[in-house]
Symmetry: C2
Subunit: 432 residues, 2 copies
């Protein structure tokens, strides 16, 4: 469900906190669902509405808006003509029946940090050495078009643009067609010297520890597999058990095994998390034994050795299930992300900034992938978290309290202010 009711104009109030909350509420009406969330899958009408609204907001504050070849949206604020750019961003797209904070909070926080900085720097008479690009990455969620983190993967050279543009959704619409339909595609390109992102935690560690800010020290290692379980189509009524090659039984056994592995391999120091988020049965008729199931299985851990052990067990179990369920299990595409640290200097700068604002902070690891997971591989990157109530995410009930959102914008403003002054990276070392 999307709403097209008239929106309040983007705020230009002098009250920073009020302006942010006002804009956040306006933004949350696009693709709003009856359950209090949003449905703004990448390249849909609702995603297009949100992008257009965001363009209007930042243009009203003097930004120039551009699109690159895969629909990444760049809102450019010039502070130092001719200087290189610091990027700050996240994504405005959502899961189906997703929350209104995931991604969208970070894009708006980035815009508001830049909006606040411009007059502040001018009033202080300081001379920034960088310009600012607020980036709304295309298709971070990866539900309509796969894979996730699509826009930032092209930007960082991990996926070819042509391959992405030809990728189809389940109805056969390509990314190119979807982007052209909502009018947010161009040929802009930009080199950036550093990247900042703020995001909701989507877990409960900050809340449990009573902290307002998380400084992300590393990603978890993640092995993601696409499995195809091959069985043999048969009549559910007439085919005796001994004659069955039931792909659904094989795939279900794999889902159960994945959870058992998470339970068995997690230790006090290092968690293992396994998931299966997509599971598609063919032909999926009431009286037919399934001939094929496609499913995605992820194994994640904070420790590379624990991850390797859990992964080996997963593959041992796959072979066991093939025998027991009398099916063949093919391993299709795989994506392996090693656990990787964020920039240490960036962590120190963020910690100093939080101390200056007297915000309680701690270090965290991110289980989920973010656009910063890509960006940190090409430029120095700082990733910040604010709490998620009860850790609920990818859910209409996702919530981050106003005070936490505002503390995050304050911190991002402080960090971005230091970075554009050259406290994190040097303007001479950047660009190409």
């Amino acid at each position: 469900m999307t709403t097209t009711s008239a929106q309040p104009a983007p705020s230009v109030s002098g009250d920073d906190a009020g302006a942010f909350l006002h804009d956040f509420r306006s933004m949350s009406t696009f693709g709003a669902t009856p359950g209090g969330g949003v449905d703004r899958q990448a390249g849909t009408f609702a995603d297009g509405q949100t992008r257009t609204w965001f363009r209007g907001l930042v243009e009203g504050h003097g930004f120039d808006v551009r699109y690159d070849v895969v629909g990444n949206q760049f809102a450019l604020l010039e502070l130092a003509p001719g200087a290189p750019y610091i990027a700050v961003g996240s994504h405005l797209d959502s899961q189906p029946l997703g929350g209104r904070f995931d991604g969208a909070y970070g894009v708006l926080a980035g815009a508001h940090a830049a909006i606040r900085l411009k007059p502040r720097l001018a009033a202080e008479g300081t001379e920034p050495v960088f310009n600012i690009a607020v980036i709304n990455w295309f298709n971070e969620e990866g539900c309509r078009f796969k894979p996730s983190m699509m826009g930032s993967s092209v930007f960082t050279g991990k996926l070819p643009a042509e391959q992405v543009l030809a990728t189809t959704d389940p109805h056969g619409t390509t990314v190119r067609e979807a982007l052209e339909a909502i009018g947010t595609i161009g040929d802009f390109s930009l080199d950036v010297a550093a990247y900042l992102e703020i995001h909701i935690e989507q877990g409960r560690s900050l809340e449990d520890a009573g902290l307002t800010i998380g400084l992300v020290e590393s990603t978890w290692g993640a092995n993601k597999y696409e499995f195809i379980v091959h069985g043999e189509q048969a009549h559910t009524g007439a085919t005796v058990i001994a004659d069955r090659h039931d792909a659904l039984l094989g795939a279900s056994s794999l889902v159960v095994a994945a959870r058992e592995i998470a339970d068995e391999f997690s230790t006090e120091e290092h968690s293992v998390i396994t998931s299966c988020g997509e599971f598609t049965v063919y032909p999926n008729s009431p009286v037919v034994v399934a001939s094929r199931v496609e499913l995605l299985v992820d194994v994640r851990s904070t420790d590379p050795d624990v991850l390797a052990a859990a992964d080996a067990e997963l593959h041992r179990r796959v072979a066991e299930i093939e025998r027991k369920a009398s099916v063949r299990i093919e391993r299709g595409a795989e994506h392996v992300w090693a656990a990787k640290a964020y920039d240490e200097a960036g962590m120190r700068l963020a910690a100093k900034s939080a101390e200056a604002l007297e915000l309680p902070y701690g270090t965290v690891r991110t289980l989920a992938g973010h656009d910063s997971t890509n960006m940190k591989d090409i430029v120095p990157t700082i990733m910040l978290f604010v709490p998620s109530v009860e850790g609920i995410s990818h859910n209409e009930k996702e919530l981050t309290n106003d005070d936490d959102m505002l503390a995050g914008v304050d911190l991002l403003t402080e960090v971005l202010g230091r970075v554009v002054m050259g406290d994190f990276v040097s303007p001479n070392a950047s660009g190409d």
Copy 2:
């Protein structure tokens, strides 16, 4: 895939066996799939083609064709003006990527049995006391529109016609719209005095025993449940295991448990068969813990006590899975068919007929539901099986050899010949 290439005209050859095989091959071209099967889901264009072809075939042999309010197709052959009718039938619709024998063989066998009988009775100078209706039941398969055995369920008063006509397929098309689109709906009605059906076994017991004919003595008992597993949508990456309410884990555990129950409760004398043929995950996105899974679980057994014990275990396991996977499992619609015997006099008549033709026969039970499962509850019914190679069914590779098909038509002709002479039911007892 459907084919519309020009068909040989229905055969009017005097060679009974050749004529049947010729017509069977012609019929199998409608909705033919590259893998050697057919896709003729109920009310589709391919189903309509097959029905129109069948109409042409039997009209060429002097039958009148009529449709009732839910699209059951009646081919009427008058042998004794004013006398009641004996029905013989099955169904021309198929599963997606189904075999070309399932259902279609029985309809064509019924038509050919009637076609052979007419001149034979005339030549013998005998006076039949019944007319013959060959029935092609609408939507036996139940894949596009649920439930299965739809047409015969309305005919036998088990389902209201209005409810059936308003039933929609996954695209929102109603049964009424589908039947009107293919032009096979009417307002005909008929009382019948007895029902005969021949079908492929869809199991391997005849083949294993070296028999050509199975006399079906009873249906298995079957409890069919629709379960809805309720979880909580969450982020697969960020949500720790302890916070998950994973509907996919709950549903997968239920699939695994169902198979374990079949293994545990089957005895030498009585098999238990469990199946899950449909399994739909919401929202089915790669990075989202499933909020809901809908699945169908069947438990079948030849023995009512064994069935009851297996069913009780299933429900105990459902409660256990709710606790272990931290989900709620709702039981939706259920269909319970008690194991039920076919008419004993009919079994004796069929056995005598097989002996007269020197066909090796045995008694079998049907695991699968058939239109005769409905019909036997309102009129004396005879159900016959011919072998399925390797028991393969609901599969493009489904096969019944020509010799077995022809033996079945011979037997059906023999049985039908006796029944229209009053050897099974009396013409005075029938009708209303």
